[in-house]
């Protein structure tokens, strides 16, 4: 019984002190550097699966569709 009471008291005291952490609550701006969320490159997800060369080739091939002098040859 005593052990249970000690354990309960310890648990309650831990719960009561849980919000007493020293966490920084103000955003620390670093002048001149991006402060937002990180972005992923466009070739990260399928169908490219991180293959930048494959993605780049696909984009360049697609860009060549804008050149009708090549499309009509």
């Amino acid at each position: 019984m005593t052990h249970a009471l000690i354990a309960l008291a310890a648990g309650l005291s831990l719960a009561a002190l849980a919000a007493c952490g020293e966490r920084p609550q103000v955003v620390n701006y670093k002048q001149g550097t991006y402060q937002g969320k990180p972005d992923t490159p466009p070739y990260k997800d399928p169908p490219w699966n991180g293959d930048e060369t494959k993605w780049r080739q696909a984009i360049d091939t697609r860009a060549q569709n804008q050149n009708e002098y090549k499309r009509t040859k």
Binding site: Y29, K30, Q31, G32, T33, Y34, Q35, G36, K37, P38, D39, T40, P41, P42, Y43, K44, D45, P47, W48, W55, R56, A58, I59, D60, R62, A63, Q64, Q66, N67, E68, Y69, K70
Partner: protein, 220 residues
Amino acid sequence: MARMKFLCDAERCIECNGCVTACKQENDVPWGVNRRRVVTINDGVPGERSMSVACMHCSDAPCMAVCPVDCFYRTQEGVVLHDKDLCIGCGYCFYACPFGAPQFPQTGAFGVRGKMDKCTFCAGGPEPDGSPAEFAKYGRNRLSEGRLPACAEMCSTKALLAGDADVLSGIYRDRVTMRAARGTRGSPPWGWDTAYGSADAPKQVQQPAPAAQPAPASKS
């Protein structure tokens, strides 16, 4: 490293506003926000020229330089994007941008503008690619689908080009070469003569300054 760029051929643009419509449709852009617009110079006058303008994704972007909360970033592909969660809607970027690219969705008392919105080169933003959150905040991420921006792909006359700068300059070089070979009007790109002078124009010869006339003899 690729540098994604837009290039508008003023010899081809017919002011159809198809690019504007395509952008609004693809990205579900709200009323009052125009990520892209067509500017016409000398409208109604013979020889008028139109040009489609949006964010030019500058290599040294002034919007990035003036943002007080540093919410802008440049991707590896050279696309200038921003984090809307961080934007405070101060409007500094609007005043800094020479192209009027930053747009604000609200007008209200005390200068309430809302989060800035601009052309993303159809590259989304800092949310998971293709997610509903990305679409709601930034529009469609066509680059991750292996597609180019909707405005350029929808352009009926292919006046507006988008893609890697090296590829675009190759396409434009082909056009200029073909125009010159045909001898059609506007062989050089529009603005070339203004910037570099015309080969056909008579050269302006520096005239020697007239000799000083002798002063008339005063009657005395």
